[in-house]
Subunit: 375 residues, 2 copies
């Protein structure tokens, strides 16, 4: 098996579908090993550029942090954002049979069509940011028309995790590598800034389950109202999550075991997309709680992947913040959003670009003849 450095292990969908579980495991190990720390020299060179700008030291805060991070990811003191994309993964969840969501499962498919037609919230905000939306059916339950839309589907929704594993280990690995492939193809086309998005009725349930398991926080702490549950329904959702964890006994020292048992297909796909982006030196902007659960899973697989992550909004789902903690992230946009799709992440594209422009366009103390000093 030959690994070409900085290329996806499986570029061709048939390769993934035909791979054995053992080959997928080996590929994951290689993907993980290929994720390196940021280029420290580029980070320092960017810091020096920023320190010469006409402003008090570090006074542009996060904009300076992001400029340094992107420099370290690209490995250059003069990073350029080329093209941008939202990778939107769609999947359904068998656990909706337990009544954990206010919306019917049919809505996943309906919304997926709306993304293809350009009318979703994420389409509006991605267009506004000059980014494209790459929407992938990784595991919608119902059939799509035309059938080609289902090309990347691993499974027609997960099993009901309240009764047993949501996915087999192989299905989780297939979804992960399909997500990695989508990211890889986007990067091959020149996209070098990615945002994560998703749709899937019921998907705050597995996200909260993963976050509770990986962080050790209680189910109550990490579980929110999703699309709008009332108090009693929220309590029921929490009970179902506890049951799923108890029934499946995920081994949290084995992230794929945990992901397969209490995760989701779109969560696995985003995990793969994040790992692939890190492997290919592309920053990833994270959206809400589902993205956070995916990012946390990616971090558990490859800890250095968190260096490639940029947070965006603080979801109304509080589990997101708790998932961010081990990643060294905190929400940056306090917009009370809870739509998902990548809508919060899409708002951050503009901010990352602003950060790079500060480095490129702002005058220096010398060029502007401004007095410098200890301020």
């Amino acid at each position: 098996m030959i690994i070409v450095k900085k290329q996806a292990k499986f570029h061709n969908l048939n390769d993934i579908k035909n791979a054995t579980e053992k080959e997928l495991e080996t590929a994951l190990l290689e993907l993980t090993k290929g994720i390196k720390d940021l280029n420290e020299e580029s980070v320092l060179e960017m810091q020096e550029r920023l320190d010469n700008k006409i402003k008090p030291h570090r006074s542009l805060g996060l904009l300076e942090d992001m400029a340094q991070q992107v420099a370290g990811i690209y490995g250059t003191s003069h990073p350029k954002i080329n093209e941008k994309a939202v990778l939107l993964m769609a999947g359904d969840h068998g656990v909706v049979a337990e009544g954990v969501s206010a919306a019917p499962q049919e809505v996943t498919r309906q919304l997926f069509y709306s993304y293809l037609n350009g009318g979703g919230g994420i389409n509006v905000l991605a267009r506004h940011a000059g980014a494209e939306v790459i929407a992938t059916d990784i595991g919608i339950a119902l059939p799509l028309d035309p059938p080609e839309l289902m090309t990347n589907r691993v499974k027609c929704g997960t099993e009901n995790m309240a009764n047993g594993p949501a996915m087999t280990r192989k299905e989780a690995l297939l979804a992960l590598f399909t997500g990695a492939k989508i990211a890889s193809e986007a990067i091959d086309r020149g996209i070098n800034l990615i945002a994560t998005g998703e749709v899937g009725i019921g998907n705050t349930t597995p996200s909260s389950a993963l976050i509770a398991s990986f962080t050790g926080h209680s189910v109550e702490e990490v579980t929110g109202r999703g699309t709008g549950l009332k108090d009693e329904a929220l309590k029921h959702k929490q009970e179902i999550i506890k049951k799923a964890i108890k029934v499946n006994q995920p081994d949290i020292s084995d992230p794929i075991d945990t992901l397969s048992k209490i995760g989701g297909l779109e969560i696995a796909a985003l995990t793969g997309a994040i790992l692939e982006a890190a492997y290919r030196n592309v920053p990833v902007i994270l959206d809400g709680i589902i993205s956070a659960a995916s990012a946390l899973t990616a971090y558990k697989i490859a800890p250095l992947s968190c260096k490639y992550m940029i947070s965006s909004h603080g979801s109304e789902e509080l589990g997101q913040r708790l998932a961010f903690e081990p990643l060294g992230l905190k929400p940056r946009l306090d917009f009370n959003m809870r739509l998902g799709e990548g809508t919060g992440a899409a708002l951050m594209f503009n901010m990352v670009e602003a950060a790079i422009k500060i480095a490129d366009e702002m005058a220096t103390f010398e060029s502007a003849s401004v007095t410098t000093g200890d301020f």
Copy 2:
């Protein structure tokens, strides 16, 4: 004296400079009375538009709030942002003689030139947002070259408020109406979204003094490190603010008295710009602590003006958050910024535009054939 509805009281600079104090007071009363509540019908119509979009109810949070607010301000369910500008007011502060700032006063003038040359942080971020920067010398201490740049200057910096009033009442009114005129001229040119910005070495000191006085919070609570004071210097700054309040005994029931005694020329100008924007039905995006002090002063003069305000970033200067509370605002971008100039506010232009696009471009439940329900 004839007041033309929805036009600035003083369109011509000479009118302002030649006005008596009594005429300025009368004009302020009329400006204040002309600030009305938002158009509730347009707010509700916008809410209805948003409620039909394919998303859980209110799930786009602040984006929906801003779309409704702008609709209510413009008085239409289909608001359009035309042109955008940052109104950047520059002024100096006699209180720097007390050593309250880490940077020398000369820097105000140097930075002002950089804004005219397009190299300031605010120029970069305004350009990025497609907004112009309107930089006005309202009270820089040192002369400018060419002298025409000083056309709007009311005074060569304030007096040292630790020893007596920063400005006379008339000077404060002149600065306020000059700011209103700058806003009015911008609005006349088609600008219908404004951000506030400023430069002025030492200006966190009067801002904190105003916020402490108007809110009742302690000087310690509302006073930060400005451009980068160390612990001892911060304590000294707080002592100076306390002294200024004690020496001047501002009458907080009279906002102009307070503004003139412990405020600043750029703070007064921004206060006027905010009031004028509200009078002319234009939303105003607020920046950091100096903008917050100006907004709080505007609110004390005309409480309804707060309905026209949009917050942006949370300044590292904690007084900003406390000033926002009575205005019903909270910071929305958690970027650890403390540069001023309007840099945080400029980042919010893109978000307001995103909010309007959600209303204009997102599909409805009906158009996208998505199942609706109680979610």
